[in-house]
């Protein structure tokens, strides 16, 4: 009997039901299947389907400042966690020979990896940074890209955020750092957030307008592990304060006069224009601890403590619309943890909005909180992993080759404003400086 031939659109319907690894293997079936599976239309269809099955990526505790071996990074579907929180989640190991680096973000299944090392030459010392895009599902990795050097060897100088410019479909890294700026006629100086953008496929970093407010992550009060900038559908968002505010270590947030001083500064990755978004009107009291921006159910969310007693989570239903902030949760701290521990990061909210996965900063554990019975279950993981720096992830077939092999990322030029005394062209032999835990403060 002659086999009935199945048209392409029906083949794709079947393929989308297979595991990603299985789909990739079937590229070997024939030339047309190979082309079909590599086709952007099929890849987008797969991404849409795969987004229904969100994963979390957990990273190990950094041994060296701001980097960890990729072989110890783990990923698993959230559904596994929600089905049975009491089981031990061992996760999938990322097999990789990539070495030590840091994941600065994830978008469409691509992870942006940050590598950095301290180097010493005969007459100079600097830190070199470079980036890669990595698709752990297809095991594809891009060439090194966006390399630059900075005479400041502290590993935490820059706050990097990874995102996608939706209009051009290109991936970008935003680098934010704190610089001193003169204010007015007087000789007073303020901190300001200097911003540079790197587009994968381009060879240089571009300086854009500075952040109009000062992102709280640059103020470095108490806690330095909060997500650097929050990427949401083509925008990078920071919680910010007016430039003149200088909260001091010893006073914490009490030096902030009123809650209205907090705003969200949102950078559109296509237009590279900032907009200000106001926080919920119900947020009218300066919190005791640093509030946090994050994403739940594809919406920008804002979490803060209320008088140190309750933990409050808001969701902005329509991006940019202050009126659309709605309160999702209001939980007594004592209910979710035995000890009073205020730095919490909501990681995931189930589709029905009842079950919340919540990371705790202090001990780097996570709990599952159920809204209905107000029950709390601890999540246990076999390895020591940082729940507080969890990254949302979906499996995808998207290629890390952003343009057709014409880029030469290793010869990246550095914008002259990028770094004060940076080494532009390296002629001396450079020696990598071995870094240990004691070398730098992370």
């Amino acid at each position: 009997m002659l086999p009935a031939s199945i048209p392409d659109e029906l083949i794709s319907k079947i393929l989308l039901l297979l595991s990603l690894k299985n789909i990739v293997q079937l590229k070997c079936v024939s030339k047309s299947w190979n082309t079909f599976i590599s086709d952007p239309i099929f890849i987008q269809m797969h991404l849409k389907k795969s987004s229904q099955d969100p994963h979390l990526i957990l990273t190990p505790v950094p041994k060296y400042p701001g980097k960890y071996p990729m072989s110890r990074v783990k990923s698993f579907p959230v559904s596994r966690l929600l089905e049975n929180p009491s089981i031990t989640v061992s996760g999938d190991n990322f097999h990789s020979s990539i070495g030590s680096c840091k994941i600065i973000g994830s978008c469409h299944g691509l992870l942006c990896l940050l590598f950095h090392s301290r180097f010493r030459t005969l007459n100079d010392e600097y830190r070199k940074y470079w980036f890669c895009l990595w698709n752990p599902a297809t095991r594809e990795i891009s060439k090194n890209s966006g390399t630059f050097k900075d005479s400041n060897t502290q590993p935490n100088t820059y706050k990097f955020t990874f995102g996608c410019d939706m209009s051009s479909g290109t991936y970008k890294v935003v680098a934010l750092r704190k610089v001193l700026a003169k204010r007015g006629e007087e000789n007073k100086v303020d901190w300001k957030g200097q911003v540079r953008v790197f587009t994968f496929g381009d060879n240089c970093w571009r300086k854009i307008q500075s952040c109009p407010m000062i992102p709280v992550i640059l103020l470095n009060i108490h806690i330095n592990r909060i997500n650097n900038g929050v990427h949401l559908s083509g925008t990078v968002n920071w919680l910010a304060l007016p430039n003149y505010i200088q909260p001091a270590y010893e006073y914490g947030w009490k030096s902030i006069a009123n809650a209205q001083q907090f705003v969200v500064v949102s950078l559109d990755l296509s237009t590279e224009i900032y907009t200000q978004i106001l926080l919920p009107r119900g947020f009218d009291m300066v919190p005791c601890f640093q509030p946090i921006l994050h994403v739940l159910m594809d919406c920008l969310c804002f979490s803060h403590d209320f008088k140190g007693i309750e933990f409050v989570i808001w969701k902005m239903k329509d991006f940019g619309v202050q009126e659309s902030w709605t309160q999702l949760f209001r939980i007594e701290y004592l209910k979710i943890y035995h000890d009073l521990n205020f730095y919490k990061l909501p990681l995931h909210l189930s589709k029905n909005g009842d079950t919340l996965v919540l990371a705790n900063c202090e001990d780097d554990r996570a709990v599952i909180y159920n809204r209905r019975d107000k029950g709390v279950e601890r999540i246990t993981v076999s390895n020591k992993l940082c729940w507080f720096s969890t990254i949302d992830y979906v499996e995808s077939l998207i290629s890390t080759c952003w343009i057709s092999g014409t880029s030469t990322p290793n010869t990246s030029s550095i914008h002259e404003n990028m770094v004060g005394k940076s080494v532009l062209f390296l002629t001396n032999k450079e020696d990598e400086v071995r870094e240990s835990d004691s070398n730098d403060e992370d």
Binding site: P3, A4, S5, I6, L15, N22, C28, V29, K31
Partner: protein, 176 residues
């Protein structure tokens, strides 16, 4: 095979004697066999229903040249269960047990032609389950696809994708 068809025909001729038979829809298979079905069944088949609607219900005999008299009873059976709200995991498992690979594919194409979403989704899953973690050769045979790679091209691609070849199940005996 012929016996199977006639037994299906018998069961269908019972519905022909049904008092409400005046309102039935006649579906004519590619090999010219007429199947009388209730209008509610036709509603499940979007292609058939839109044909009826276009002619304001005047035409109740619908030719389905792409569907054989062997496949049509299966489609009708599935639609009947669907209307009765009796599509259970058990029914689906029994339903698919009777079908060999070739029949599954034919029904899949029929479901697509008739635009029966539920059946199409169900059969997509059946096919996916049957090819999941099978060898590339098995999938080629399953879909009747000719390997147009040169041996060198295929070897190179297999080497690149070597990591996907772990955990492939041994091929079943091909049924067709």
């Amino acid at each position: 095979m012929a016996e199977e068809v006639s037994s299906q025909m018998n069961s269908l001729s019972i519905s022909e004697t049904n008092p409400s038979s005046s309102a039935t829809i006649s579906l004519v298979s590619g090999d010219d066999i007429v199947f009388k079905v209730e209008p509610t069944i036709a509603k499940e088949m979007e292609t058939v229903q839109s044909f009826i609607d276009e002619t304001d219900g005047k035409i109740t005999t619908i030719p389905l040249p792409n569907i054989s008299s062997h496949d049509l009873p299966y489609v009708i059976e599935y639609c009947e269960k669907s209307i009765a709200g009796k599509i259970t995991k058990e029914f689906e498992a029994e339903f698919v047990k009777k079908l060999n690979n070739e029949e599954v594919k034919e029904l899949f194409l029929a479901a697509n032609y008739l635009n029966i979403k539920k059946l199409l989704d169900f059969l997509s899953q059946v096919i996916a389950d049957r090819i999941a973690n099978k060898s590339v050769e098995y999938v080629r045979r399953y879909f009747g696809i000719e390997n147009d790679f040169t041996p060198e091209e295929e070897a190179k691609l297999r080497e690149e994708l070597a990591w996907t070849f772990t955990g492939v199940d041994p091929d079943d005996e091909d049924e067709n």
